[in-house]
Amino acid sequence: MKKSHNFYGHGIPHVKPEDLGGKLIVVEGADGSGRSTQIAELVSWLEVSGRPTVQVGLKRSTLVSEELEMAQKGNVLSRTTLSLFYATDFADQLENVILPALRAGFIVLSDRYIYTLMARDMVRGMDPKWLKNLYGIAPIPDAVFYLSVEPEELVQRNLSKTATLDYWESGMDQGLSREVFDSFLKYQSAMGEAFRQLQKEYKFDIIDANRSVHSVNKELCKKISAVIDSE
């Protein structure tokens, strides 16, 4: 496999891009976009085909995931703090899971990546330049797929799954509307807009995920095969 992964910015102290082999594949999308389902299918497909695969996602670090969860429950963090807390969580997993896996030549499947974090912060009015510097620590993935689903469809999928809309996924901290239903629609369209803005710079592949699980999966497998077999 081709070795080397460059970073978006300054990178991580003492980490050399040429030591990072493997493949880094990112799937982005809102809750209800079918992201988790697709990732489970992809892991199974990759492992069956004999590719060692590691999964990462947001809020899963040893260092701060519990504290982040606790702080979110109380909704007491202001936006810069929340942003840096998530960045710490990301950096911890980056250094302890993603980079070692890439060094070992594994395929890393990331259930969301810096783009979700940046989009959330942009919607909350954080400066995109500040975010770009902050996430200069992130390696550039080999492929990024954004599962795009209309907010109206997301509502239906979330309600049919859990009969409720998540506080944060509805952007209820934003005061967009007192009613969670309206807030969800407004927040998710703002997130969609932020992703489209990020897409211009980070060039990820927007996948129409209003379709069935199967047809989205077929498209992902085809595109990922091309990335893996590229060298």
Binding site: P13, V76, T81, T88
Partner: protein, 250 residues
């Protein structure tokens, strides 16, 4: 980077910086006591003290989980929490805010640990410049002795053991502190540090600190307009005092 005065905040921020053992914490504590006694609205904030973030930081330190990057980010998170929830509202409300360490601590330490300076500075770009930054400069040997006398056991990150400078914590601590001092001195001009002679005795230093603060900040503007409200149990006694005073006046 603008100061809070330049940004038209009614409050003012005073920061102290320096190596461990430079005596800065003693000086800012004595400054706080004086301002309080003068009836000035004052608030004190310490580096790495946000309730929310502290448990993660201490876990990271105890288990030696932190890398230069996560060390930097978790301290930035801690600072952001204190900055947004305490410092900014207090400065808007016309307080004098005293900070034992400010963003320059991160600039010096994180860069010594190998983080790119532009990255660290960028992450703290949301914070404004203090209205007065006093840098307590003691001879390296003096600082080291103060710390090493009082506390024979050095903590892992405090000694910079993560940098693998030396297998001996004391040796590592000395090299690490020396490098941090170099970083501080290199940014001293850029951020308008007032260099304080921390080899001088504590009382003399405090005289200089108070004089400097009095010259730089028009303190009478920061007095409380009315005494602090007392808890109900004590409120009665203040009423009585007032009556007695009124009687005297009559």
């Amino acid at each position: 980077m603008k100061t809070f005065a330049q940004l038209n905040f009614p409050g003012r921020l005073i920061a102290v910086e320096g190596l461990d053992g430079s005596g800065k914490s003693t000086q800012i504590y004595l400054l706080k006591r004086w301002l309080e006694a003068e009836g000035i609205k004052v608030y004190f904030s310490e580096w790495n003290s946000s309730e929310l973030v502290k448990s993660a930081t201490s876990k990271g330190k105890k288990r030696e989980l932190l890398t230069p990057t996560t060390f930097s980010l978790i301290h930035a998170t801690d600072f952001a929490d204190r900055y947004e929830r305490h410092l900014v509202p207090l400065l808007r409300a016309g307080y004098i805010v005293l900070c034992d360490r400010y963003i320059f601590t991160a600039f010096a330490r994180d860069v010594t640990r190998g983080c790119p300076p532009e990255w660290v500075r960028g992450n703290y770009a949301f914070a404004s410049q203090p209205d007065l930054t006093m840098f307590f400069k003691a001879d390296l040997e003096v600082s080291l002795n103060r710390i090493l006398e009082g506390r024979p056991k050095l903590k892992f990150f405090e000694a910079g053991m993560d940098l693998r400078l030396s297998a001996d914590p004391y040796e590592s601590f000395k090299i690490f502190q020396g490098r941090i001092l170099d970083q501080y001195l290199a940014m001293s001009k850029e951020f308008n540090f007032v260099i304080m002679d921390a080899n001088e005795n504590v009382e003399k230093q405090q005289v200089i600190v108070r004089k400097l603060v009095g010259e730089r900040i028009d303190l009478k503007k920061f007095k409380r307009r009315s005494p602090l409200p007392l808890p109900p149990a004590l409120a009665g006694s203040r009423e009585e005092e007032k009556e007695i005073e009124e009687d005297k006046a009559a």
